[in-house]
Symmetry: C2
Subunit: 258 residues, 2 copies
């Protein structure tokens, strides 16, 4: 992400970060988030909301960022990622801060990370493109809990739940923006529901980050409770290798008419 001045940035959607030709939503959001980090001068997204407006394609994009308020602890900013032709791809609103400051606040954690078999006993993310050499699967290392991977072989579990391990394929440590990528990298929960729908386009995604992850695998779980009114939510929790909750996500997706 390179600054062009006046709150504008240029970046590129790299080949490989697509599923069936459309760039992964979490990857697009990570590009937008890096521009907002630069615009706010604060390293860590604390809460970031994205609306997905049109598919992103491989190639150059621009990001227009605007600071709404620069406060003592948080800077709030909006931004829009646009394709080369000016078409808006995603628009964002987020608050940025620094996780460097030590936190001295009460803690109360009502759940632990999902229990998963060792990564080597989990199931590789099924390739969803005809050409696996150019697929998303080459960029992220994503291993599904075998109980949640049945949809790929036509045997969905019946439970809209997807659990698994996540890391970058090149072994690069994940920063908080990498956590955002993790929240939108897994197959949709409804793949495991026995519903007459499959494709569920994301309308909106909000990520809440609680800190920087330690190096290592992330443990993730995504679940859906309410498919109703033509929409569904997908709630995610992301835990780092030390067993700490580092991110929560919720997205609202469309349930196509059957």
């Amino acid at each position: 992400v390179r600054p062009l001045g006046d709150g504008r940035f240029e970046a590129a959607v790299a080949p490989g970060w697509d599923i069936g030709g459309n760039a992964n939503g979490g990857y697009l959001l990570a590009i937008g988030a890096r521009a907002l980090v630069a615009a706010t001068g604060r390293p860590d997204p604390v809460t970031l909301t994205a609306h997905y407006l049109s598919p992103g394609k491989v190639g150059p994009v621009t990001v227009d960022a605007e600071v709404v308020k620069a406060g003592k602890r948080f800077t709030t900013a909006t931004g829009t990622v646009r394709a080369a032709d000016g078409r808006p791809v995603i628009t964002m609103l987020g608050a940025f801060s620094s996780f460097d400051e030590p936190v001295d606040a009460p803690e109360l954690v009502d759940a632990g990370p999902p229990e998963l078999p060792d990564p080597d006993e989990c199931t590789w993310l099924p390739s969803t493109t005809a050409d696996p050499a150019s697929s998303f699967r080459r960029m992220v290392d994503l291993r599904l809990h075998p109980d949640d991977a049945g949809f790929a072989t036509g045997d969905p579990s019946g439970n809209p739940l997807v659990r698994g391990w996540f890391r970058l394929r090149d072994g690069e440590p994940l920063d908080p923006i990498g956590l955002i990528l993790a929240t939108d990298a897994f197959p949709p929960t409804v793949f495991n529901a026995r519903l007459p729908t499959a494709w569920t386009p994301t309308l909106e995604l909000t990520c809440h980050l609680r800190g920087r992850p330690v190096p290592g695998w992330l443990r993730c779980a995504f679940s859906t409770r309410f498919v109703t009114g033509g929409f569904l939510e997908e709630d995610g929790v992301v835990w780092d290798a030390s067993g700490r909750l580092v991110a929560q996500s919720r997205q609202l997706a469309l349930v196509p008419r059957s």
Copy 2:
């Protein structure tokens, strides 16, 4: 909310919609949402995110709204509510549509509304201002589950859960924007946790609406699973009198250092 042209609106925070002098966050967001409804020409918020930037006070406010994309089914817009001196109070990003269109999509609902004693057997919202005549309590009719009301008498349940009934005090039917009000009207869940903190300012609130409510009481439940990293989430579900899920909410709040 009156249009002034060029995407600007004027409105007023009415006396009574405050708690201890600060306007209720859901009420401020309802004002902002009405401006975005007018700006987008679409009646119903589907997903609306607000960042709370500074306290709102009784008196005039302006809202600046901007449409990011007007699509076939959704219009996406941003907006900022400002105090008379120009200070930003809340900034918003939302998608608007119409719930008039019949929905023909699969349904899968994994939970029902919270079980509550009859409203007359529930506990009135404790007044949180010295002057009950000017308090928020006169504007909304909010009855807490007796099991979740102990915090008001120094006996928190130990469980960060708040359930209750909600309606407007004047009996006015709630539209979808009224649902937004409901998602930020209840006492904080952490009032019921035995934690060395009480005040938890909201950083961000996202509401997902699933339809228009039928007239009558709403049943609401708010819960918190993760107080960690200096933040907590509060998840809400809102059910209408017909037993249908009409809204979900999640907010990220600050946990003050102990």
